[in-house]
């Protein structure tokens, strides 16, 4: 019959399915009913669809062979039980790892620069190096280096006395000795000669400009003439003074290193004479600083280990989270 109406379009499957379920209303319903009246094909489609749905709806419900009622609560998943110890949020791990990494970076950098070393001299070097005028430091250093070949001469001390108040001079004592060691190792023929000028350069300003020294230096040193006794010509070749300069910071910062207590200076001079003559200032510093930097190394290692541990914990947490979400 649908051939009699060439404008008829067969009813779509979706529409027939909705019609079967009674979900068509209004004009849609009228249109489908009119199509079903005039089209045998649409009617046959509907009949087959109805038969299919009827078969499905007649399928009986099987009874399960046993009840699924639980006699006890199901156990928690194994992952959850294992993860109870890791209830800490991820951001705690990330933050702790960041802090540990930062601590590691700080300790390593400090150790590399020596600025915050446990050695008081190095600490003071780093702390006071920025205070004076760099230009004046250069002058002082150069003058000290030049005066190395004229150890402990009064004129040298007078020249130094004209320089700036010798915090800078003293604070640069260690680098000065390094440079002079490089420059004049062959000419001076030994560390003792190189190091003496630094000690000779410092006593002079102390004696000449001791009033200009900071109060702390004055308090630490006590008196200027102490250095003059240390830098006496008889002590010129003696390395102990040089060692004393470097090790001086034990008893006082900065310039005070050159003006240690007389008794301790003398005793230390004898004590330090051997290592200084063998290895020079740097090795002495390392030797001395080795003991004090041991804990610093331990601190570095601890920070590194903590950073690794927290990063590993964070990685494990994320992997566990991915497993749970999957």
């Amino acid at each position: 019959m649908w051939l009699l109406n060439p404008k008829h379009k067969h009813i779509g499957q979706d529409t027939l399915s909705e019609y079967l379920d009674g979900r068509l209303l209004g004009r849609d319903l009228e249109r489908v009913e009119q199509g079903l009246e005039v089209c045998d094909v649409c009617r046959l489609d509907l009949e087959e669809l109805q038969a299919t749905v009827a078969m499905l709806r007649q399928l009986p419900m099987a009874t399960p062979r046993h009840s699924f009622v639980m006699s006890a609560p199901p156990p928690e998943p194994a992952r959850a039980r294992q993860g109870q110890g890791f209830r800490v949020p991820n951001w705690v791990y990330a933050g702790a790892a960041s802090v540990a990494a930062l601590a590691l970076a700080v300790t390593v950098s400090v150790d590399a620069t020596g600025g915050l070393s446990s050695d008081p001299l190095r600490r003071d070097v780093a702390a006071t190096a920025l205070a004076p005028d760099p230009a004046s430091q250069q002058v002082t250093v150069s003058s000290a280096a030049e005066s190395e070949l004229e150890p402990a001469s009064p004129s040298g001390s007078e020249d130094e006395a004209t320089g700036p108040p010798s915090l800078a001079a003293v604070t640069l004592a260690a680098p000065t000795s390094d440079t002079t060691e490089r420059d004049g190792a062959g000419a001076a023929g030994g560390v003792g000669i190189e190091t003496v000028p630094s000690s000779a350069a410092t006593p002079a300003p102390d004696t000449a400009a001791s009033p200009a020294l900071p109060e702390t230096a004055v308090q630490d040193t006590g008196a200027g003439p102490v250095e003059s006794t240390i830098v006496s010509p008889t002590a010129i070749p003696a390395e102990p003074e040089d060692g004393q300069i470097v090790r001086g910071p034990r008893s006082g910062p900065g310039p005070a290193s050159t003006t240690n207590e007389v008794e301790t200076a003398k005793s230390q001079a004898t004590e330090d004479s051997v290592p200084v003559s063998e290895s020079g200032e740097l090795s002495l510093f390392e030797q001395d600083g080795g003991g004090t930097s041991t804990w610093w190394r331990v601190l570095e290692a601890t920070a590194g280990v903590l950073a690794v541990v927290f990063l590993a914990g964070l990685a494990l947490r994320r992997r566990a989270g991915r497993r749970d979400s999957a």
Binding site: L49, P64, F68
Partner: protein, 210 residues
């Protein structure tokens, strides 16, 4: 209309209290008793394997117990069947990825309800053995036709035509829109109709015995 099973509490059970998202306490074993038949039939028709269906239902109830605090108290049947269907789909994917042969003994014909589609669905009184054989054959054909459908279409047809859900309930259970449910139901019915037609199960009404 699909047969809706009303389960009564015939045996005492452990009182497993669970709370939904609103804090309302519910006896979870009562939930199981009320939904285990539907869950089992849905799983069995999705899996076409009674043993796997039991595993799926067991796993689904455990999952539902653990996740009950996320249930928002809307339609418990739709929520439960959604968990069952998700579990079945996961198991089907795993089975496709790792095809295996079950080591469980094949069901025997001793009237055990655990056996396959046949004896489970046959009422104990009424039809003759010939009728039972015909019904068994028809159900096996229907199940074979369902197996040819896509998973989403099969699930939609089962929820709407076998379990008697409305489109809205099916959309909740399947987690998709109403239009998607309509489309899946229509295509699933059409696919099954084509299969049954080829199998000779769909005869014109004038040739059909009522």
């Amino acid at each position: 209309m699909a047969q809706m099973v009303q389960t009564t509490h015939t045996s005492p059970h452990a009182n497993l209290q669970v709370k939904d998202q609103s804090g309302q306490a519910t006896c979870f074993n009562c939930v199981i008793e009320n939904h285990q038949t539907q869950a089992y039939n849905l799983a069995r028709r999705m899996q076409n394997d009674w043993a796997l269906a039991e595993d799926a239902v067991q796993e689904s109830f455990v999952s539902a117990y653990r996740a009950f605090d996320r249930f928002r108290g809307e339609n418990l049947t739709a929520w439960m069947l959604r968990i069952v269907s998700n579990t079945c789909r996961d198991m089907l994917r795993a089975r496709k990825a790792r095809p295996s042969v079950s080591l469980d003994p094949l069901p025997t014909g001793d009237g055990d309800e655990s056996q396959g589609l046949s004896a489970l669905d046959i009422p104990s009184d009424g039809p003759t053995p010939e009728d039972q054989a015909e019904q068994l054959e028809l159900r096996e054909t229907i199940q074979a036709g369902l197996d040819t459908l896509q998973e989403d279409q099969r699930l939609a047809v089962l929820l709407v035509d076998v379990h008697g859900m409305s489109y809205e309930e099916a959309s909740q259970s399947m987690g998709c829109s109403l239009g998607t449910v309509k489309s899946r139901v229509s295509r699933g019915r059409g696919g099954l109709r084509d299969y049954l037609r080829q199998a000779g199960e769909l005869l014109p009404s004038r040739f059909r015995q009522e």
